[in-house]
Assembly symmetry: C2
Homo-oligomer: 473 residues x 2
Amino acid sequence: MPETKVKKTEDFHEWYNEIVELADLCDKRYPIKGMNVWRPYGWKLMRHVDELIRDEMEKTSHQEVCFPLLIPESLFKKEEEHIEGFGSEVYWVTYAGNNQLEERWLLRPTSETAMYPIFSLWIRSHTDLPLKTFQIVNTFRYETKQTRAFIRVREIHFFEAHTCHKDFEDAERQIEEDKEIADRFLKKLCLPYIFSKRPDWDKFAGAFYTISIDVLMPSRRTLQVGSIHQYKDNFARPYGITYETRDGTHSYCHQTTYGMSERLLGAIIGIHGDNKGLILPPDVSPIQVIIIPIIFKGREEEIISECNKIYQKLTEEKIRSHVDSRDITPGNKYYDWELKGVPLRIEIGPKELEKKEIMLVRRDNGEKKLISQNILTSAVKKELSDISTSLYEKAKNFLRENLHRLQTIEEAKEKKGIIELPWCGTEKCATEIENILDSNTLGEPIENIKCENTSCPICGNPAQTWMRYAKTY
Amino acid sequence: MPETKVKKTEDFHEWYNEIVELADLCDKRYPIKGMNVWRPYGWKLMRHVDELIRDEMEKTSHQEVCFPLLIPESLFKKEEEHIEGFGSEVYWVTYAGNNQLEERWLLRPTSETAMYPIFSLWIRSHTDLPLKTFQIVNTFRYETKQTRAFIRVREIHFFEAHTCHKDFEDAERQIEEDKEIADRFLKKLCLPYIFSKRPDWDKFAGAFYTISIDVLMPSRRTLQVGSIHQYKDNFARPYGITYETRDGTHSYCHQTTYGMSERLLGAIIGIHGDNKGLILPPDVSPIQVIIIPIIFKGREEEIISECNKIYQKLTEEKIRSHVDSRDITPGNKYYDWELKGVPLRIEIGPKELEKKEIMLVRRDNGEKKLISQNILTSAVKKELSDISTSLYEKAKNFLRENLHRLQTIEEAKEKKGIIELPWCGTEKCATEIENILDSNTLGEPIENIKCENTSCPICGNPAQTWMRYAKTY
């Protein structure tokens, strides 16, 4: 048992830094800063998250591919804005063995420039469209800011969907689908979020527009967990992605991308955890139900055998469970599995055995419930679903309480969290507000929220729209 | 439909090079030689192979981890033989953005030198042993020889298990388990193999001994698909992997590794395929049963609905199937799915509908079988299992016919395939035989095969053991 543990409620960042290692998610002692080792428990959790997104991709007819990691410099440089945006953040391979390469290769920071030359070969005719692909790979960015496990790292576990369409409107429909995917997927992770359309000067390098997906961490700073990009034909032109239309002419494709990263884990850890450790959403928890035998002398066999029976029944219903039969006290076992965030605990002792009952204990609120053996699987399913709902609702309330639609800088200075202020539409005023509030521009709400009769708190001109500001990770 | 296709029976290598692209496994047009794009069908196949090895790992209590791709030069250089063996084959990252790195980092060619410094932190006491881990990642080797899809590439999809043990004997037990895993796993891929203990001068850089796992390709050249290494404490010493024993002293761990790569796909493609295309082992085929409606006017709906019913029933039994409802002729569909190697085809036309029957067609031998609707799933399961057995047996016979235990060089010159000759134990004689036969040393059979009364065909001294030679990939 670890000796000390910082309390989440006292020092969130210290708690976060400690919990990712205590709960066996990752090891930060690898000798390259920001490149961490995925430990078995963390990797399992990440893989469950990956499987959920794979399910969503399958349902929406995206096909999984895997493109090379290394990108020749000349390919990378074809789209000017892209290289400007990423050039200073990439790692360069210059030697193979003792031979200097004729052309430098970079480690993908994202895969547009690896994929699009090949897309231009795959797409010939309008019947090849839409092309909907995705991959789950590691990407690399040379972060100079302070690193933080899962949140700011240099080797990033990354999901990226890339689609090609016959025109702008079809690409827009893809973005609608992407938003629906985010909604279903993030609900399963119990993560409420906001979509913001990034301001022009801070969109993805090469994009026509960017929608960021942000969650609110307990520190009241936002964490961008994903983004959706409309590229129009900005990449199709330099990479020559054209198709033959029905009437025999040639057109450029319109493209979208959709990215999410291991930051999702950062959000899960930060938003749901408590002083005792992680609280994992049931849909992705490597173990959903931990079964703990409360051994009494003379009845060991009976109790263990009952635990194994429960394990069998849950496994048949595809509920991931585990019997902890280690030779340590039940209290120590509770401690361990609470730390690791297993959403539901089952305790089986002599009392339960006699009455043919089972004790269920919820990780999120500590609630205990005695149920009859014969409703085991239905009761467990209901508890897991209730835990999922509670985690989501709790986070949703926190987000709601910390999203402030205001009119003046003075009001804004009083608030923590996400601030929405009327905006005249100029970079200058947004930047000034950023400075005053010591925060970052998130972007406009994508829902059309009325801003008539409001004016920019800086220049006083009539507002075009609302703009969001927050301290960010 | 592609216009031309080389016949496997006429030019195996050309057939292989063509089929990997025609069957949508990979795209070789990526601008870095030997770094290919995994297309959706190829990636699905690879993922099914990965899942089988994951199952084996889970059954044998190995835990999945994921270590960083990049390794600092100083870590890499701690084990002398290792750096000698790999030094000329690695890619070096020297710049991050515009900044030259203080220390060069290399892309992992294999992960010993990334993992072992961390293992030395994870292992404290004998209770931490054995430590059994694995990861499935891409690795990188600067190949200068001619590349070939899945067989000789520069970015390699790789499985690597790494274990630590209290002593040599426990590591030896691990190697026994590894051999059992190979046996179960490769049986599912319908791949017969031989284990050979590599000669000392050609073992893995840093290993105490290496067992290679080779299959025999139709060209009668062997393909090494995997290897098992006993490291003894060769790495534990430089990386300081020690543990406290029961009596309080400290000992070095003994280690093993087990590696297999995407070459498994190369073996599946090469060994099972025929002139019509791939033939995939049912256990890993992305689609196990392709259902083809034989549409007759006026009965379209009935036939499609029957196909969908069959799809449903198979899906419930976890048999991966797909209804091909494209608007092209059945003949074209047969062609496509034969090319892609789907092991079993179901045809449903008006005749089948009337008689409540189903036509099953095997990909491997073209056999057709009419079965009654009500035995659908059991019949399909039996056919898939029979196909798996046939593929294995056919390959096994080919391997048996081409493994020659001989006494003299003259006999050996007459034979193609794998040659076993008596060996005196010296590198000099083995090398001479290699030269004479224009082939490579594979290693000794790991089964103890009697070699009394035989002598080395080069020096005439009494043989210590048998030695295998073959042309290799």
